[in-house]
Symmetry: C2
Subunit: 469 residues, 2 copies
């Protein structure tokens, strides 16, 4: 494909993109295919000779599209959103064309410095104090792994990296029963082990950690010769939006000398609205804080914003510089590969620049406020309906509910059937969780193009399908 041909197909892809976004609302949200439906349409072996782009685009529409679940559908209310927006997509085009590899300052000075400045913009936007420095990670899973390994090493005075954990007493990590599975995964990968992730029970309307239990667990571990290393505080848990009292967690972390990591993967974006910042009180004393602009800040995946108070602790933990990666050191040169698990890095700051500049902070705030208010409005309707019950109140734009008609016996089975039927129907997409021993249906509002009418239409669909059960 020469340059003229590239220009032709790049324009074709631009039109394809606009056509897709213009028609996505007409498609079923969740793919309506069975396992193997796509696979059986794909040749078993690669072609020896090149094929035409016309054929490839035709197959994209014929084979791939019908098998996709549409995350940019305005009636996507499942999981958390994977946001995207027009300026973010445009920035991704530019990023793909430049195809820079941004591991070192020298390999991408402008990308590195734009990343530094964009993360500082985000820091200001969510109200974190001046001392925090940021880096873009691939995911909150990656950020949390980096944070927990740093905490582990801090607790062991960096002897874990040198000698391995087999040479030391067990490192302990604390989080609530609502922390995300990425904490479980990180604890395994980091060699800390499930048994040393202490899950503290929750209490209160925000499902926050029982702080007395946390304090006691740390003290008991210390007495037993274990090495308490980190508290993971949850700001907007995945299941029902659990929020720990970060201020109290910071007190305990300070008292015991522990590392405090705040996982605000989803809810962190809402902190750009000052009225929601009561949820992050105390985060200014955390050691690290992660949130995903790729969830709820109109920025394409992957873009996870990871803030740390002590960047040196992070780079002392993850930084390795063999001879082939050394460059002439220059004052002020930051090499972000030392801040994260992967060495290679895409130019991900560009889309933040496009998004924040083209919307401006006020429009981003308005978007979040709309989502929150529509979720609250729908939750109120569900709460008022005699055959439905709200199983958790809205935390920002997330709540859970279940169908509980008076005559029903097995509510778990009934609601499992309801969510399956709703998703098979395809007009909206919802997912489930387990909450206080029950099967519940989650509802979150967050897709970029969702309107109030979409949220209200979801309520019609839910009632209609429930009535048919």
């Amino acid at each position: 494909m020469n340059l003229d041909s590239f220009r032709h197909w790049a324009h074709k892809a631009a039109d394809w993109s606009a056509d897709y976004l213009g028609s996505v609302a007409k498609r079923p949200v969740r793919a309506q295919v069975k396992p193997g439906d796509t696979l059986k349409q794909l040749p078993l072996s690669p072609p020896a000779a090149g094929e035409s782009m016309d054929d490839i685009f035709a197959d994209l529409d014929r084979i791939i599209l019908p098998g996709m679940t549409h995350w940019q559908h305005p009636r996507f209310f499942a999981y958390f959103p994977a946001n995207s927006s027009p300026p973010s997509i445009v920035a991704e085009y530019v990023t793909a064309a430049m195809a820079a590899q941004c591991m070192l300052w020298q390999t991408s000075p402008a990308a590195t410095e734009l990343e530094t400045r964009m993360l500082d913009w985000l820091r200001q936007m969510i109200g974190l104090p001046d001392g925090f420095r940021g880096v873009i990670q691939d995911s909150a899973s990656g950020a949390t792994l980096a944070a927990l390994v740093t905490a582990r090493e801090k607790a062991l005075a960096w002897a874990g990296n040198k000698e391995g954990l087999a040479a030391h007493a067990p490192v302990r990590v604390y989080g609530s029963t609502h922390t995300h599975s990425s904490i479980d995964k990180a604890v395994r990968i980091a060699g800390i082990g499930d048994a040393n992730l202490v899950k503290i029970p929750v209490a209160g309307s925000h499902y926050g950690m029982d702080m007395a239990a946390l304090d006691a667990a740390i003290a008991a571990d210390r007495m037993a010769g274990r090495v308490p290393a980190a508290i993971v505080a949850c700001l907007g848990g995945t299941s029902v939006g659990a929020c720990d009292d970060i201020d109290a967690a910071a007190d305990i972390a300070a008292r015991h000398g522990l590392y405090l990591h705040v996982d605000a993967a989803w809810a962190g974006s809402a902190m750009i609205c000052p009225e929601f910042r009561n949820l992050m009180l105390g985060a200014e004393r955390a050691d690290s804080f992660v949130f995903n602009p790729h969830k709820w800040l109109l920025t394409n995946f992957d873009c996870s914003a990871h803030f740390v108070r002590d960047a040196k602790a992070l780079t002392d933990t993850l930084g390795i510089r063999p001879a082939y990666l050394r460059t002439l050191a220059q004052e002020g040169q930051v090499d972000y590969q030392e801040w994260s698990v992967p060495l290679g890095r895409r130019f991900r700051a560009l889309k933040l620049w496009f998004v924040i500049r083209s919307y401006g902070v006020a429009a981003l705030q308005a978007k979040i406020r709309d989502h929150v208010s529509w979720a609250r409005a729908l939750a109120a309707l569900i709460d008022a309906h005699e055959s439905f019950e709200l199983t958790s109140a809205p935390l920002l734009s997330l709540f859970s509910f279940r169908y509980a008609p008076r005559e029903a016996a097995d509510l778990d089975a009934l609601n499992a059937r309801l969510v399956e039927r709703i998703n098979d129907d395809g007009r909206i997409y919802l997912t489930q969780s387990q909450h206080e021993g029950s099967f519940v249906i989650r509802f979150q509002v967050g897709q970029t193009n969702t309107t109030r009418a979409d949220v209200m239409a979801a309520w019609d669909v839910i009632r209609e399908i429930a009535a048919e059960l």
Copy 2:
């Protein structure tokens, strides 16, 4: 930005992309800026109100472009390439517009099944046997971390994940002194520790591990009560292209019951040419094999192909399925989030589909063969020149050399100056390494649009600048 406006700016970005690629050869390869040059042009705080896309694009050209190192410049001979190609960029456009999150089969059935098939195409292309299954990881660092944690858990019968490494004898990993820094990083993150990464000396023209020393080290560790877990074999090391004898490593791994991981991050792409497969003899007996189509197979970063012989061992190690990620299990449903460190995943298989189909295997082979033959031709010229010496023979398209005029005293300092002067000049871009105690200059041919003339022009630049020293 509404849909019409998006269409307008998407086309603008398409033109920007074509213009950039059409003019990149006229820019200096390595950015010619100083630390802070970009940063000082970026406002300290984000705008409250939105700005025009016209302004943003103008700033892209004015502020960002002059600060970029151009990885898609045809005279980029540094590091390893971060390949890109027209069909790959077009596919990235489509991926950005769909913005699907491909963590579970249900969230992206077609993406999941396309990934399965594309990885099987790649498996066939590089000649790995049928039993291997593949997944796309963000980077070879991520793949290697996943492999080493799996090896660790296999050696501990999955008790490390449960109890942590503190409860067990030290796990040991073996690799040569030429293994990549990502192995060092993975060993740290996984809690194994530097002290338990045993670096075996190399010997022979391919800088391969001394297999007798490897065998002895494993036996001694076992005797000492340590837990030998994994051998990492290197296929095309970063410094000078070191290659271990994988067949011999597989024998030793089998004899001692160890996991064998092959790191072919860069050189793996060349295995699509059967004439180079002597380098991977024995890989069919490895437990995992990683190579990066984003390095040398015309596919945009990130796209690292990770093959495993026992997918269950991998998912038993990294798979966690909380209530909010459960879906109605269906036969044949693969959830790739269980195969990797991050939970969230971009739709990365699409670009492989576009690249492999639009080029066809034969054209991809021809590209690799050209790069290898041009590197060999240049290496021969350098070898024949009285003031230069080849410090390592070409391994595929990578070799190293240094300037060694008869009268020079401190060759290390002279060559450090030479590489800096070359990169300041901007016509070509080269990086250095440390080899057998000396500072050497690396040269690799691999950028998509590089021609034989570009490689020969590099030789002119090198001699011209060396003569000026």
